[in-house]
Amino acid sequence: MKLKQLESLLGDLEQFSNPKVELEQYPTGPHIASRILFTAHNSFGDVNGKVVADFGCGCGTLGAAAALMGAEQVIAVDIDSDSLKIASHNAEDLELDINFLQCDVKNLGWRGHIVDTIVMNPPFGTRQKGADMEFLHMALKISSQAVYSLHKTSTRDHVKRAALRDFGAINAEVLCELRYNIPQMYSFHKKREMDIAVDLWRFVPKVIEDMQ
């Protein structure tokens, strides 16, 4: 799949119609989403033939992108049933076979290391304090190969320290800095849209074999 083609397919996906402020529901645009999965596939081999999970999948853009890039199985998780409904319509429209799960990522009960790679655009923690770090912590426990995640550039040092020191990542690298455009969906955004600096990270988890 070509990058342009991926971006255009993602651009057709339906997005949140009534975003819920407290869940920080804003989509990853097709431009950024396509580049995340394209990089994960082309530069690192983290997608094709893998089991990929999308944490906080919303309308399923990142999970769909993973499936389009050749993930063998995709598991998309969100706390919100309205998002999951839209995400499963989107998957149907693209004829993608995606596994959905309704769960709070913060207290996900999980066994083993079946998931290779996790892609996510977690809540930045502006409404639920620390949500981004809880997502990252869980992702580093569950995946066996790599975690791709977006975090505000202003938190870069903190993210790096927490990942390496507290969550046992063996590598944490900023792949690029992006301008992330959050459209004005919420009344507390004073300007018409907010453009914030966001880092795309790739983390490598330390895998501790659990006893079977």
Binding site: G49, V51, E72, Q73, I75, I79, S81, L84, S88, D97, N99, F100, L101, Q102, C103, D104, N107, L108, G109, W110, R111, G112, H113, I114, V115, Q212
Partner: protein, 122 residues
């Protein structure tokens, strides 16, 4: 819900020490065909809890998996096809997952398990 997902979900209710594997209550099972990929299956074999898969498949009406399996079986196409079918093609469309310690049911509707906990379960 595929049994692949079932094989990695566990009950996370406060106080539960071993929430795996979840029991399965079947209302409706469907089958969806998936491309057969032997390399993927060989890789999955090492990560799957075999007994949980065998029991779950049997509950869903598929009893063709051997009770015990070892690496030598990965040479056999016949074995891989059964493994493939159980892991990827069977879906719990309607029913519930059941916490093995408390009996709490997590509903599965339209193939999507709802693992959300109530406030006093967190």
């Amino acid at each position: 819900m595929r049994l692949l997902t079932h094989n990695m979900l566990s009950s996370n209710i406060k106080g539960v020490t071993n929430g795996f594997p979840l029991g399965i209550e079947v209302e409706k099972v469907i089958e969806k065909q998936v491309d057969f990929n032997p390399d993927f299956l060989r890789n999955m074999f090492a990560k799957v809890e075999w007994k949980a898969l065998v029991d779950a498949a049997r509950t869903m009406g598929y009893a063709e998996l051997p009770e015990e399996a070892d690496l030598s079986m990965l040479e056999s196409d016949d074995f891989l096809k059964r493994f493939h079918h159980a892991l990827l093609e069977l879906h719990l469309e309607e029913g519930a997952l059941v916490c093995p310690e408390t009996g709490r049911k997590f509903p599965v509707n339209k193939g999507i398990p709802n693992m959300l906990l109530l406030e006093d379960e967190v």
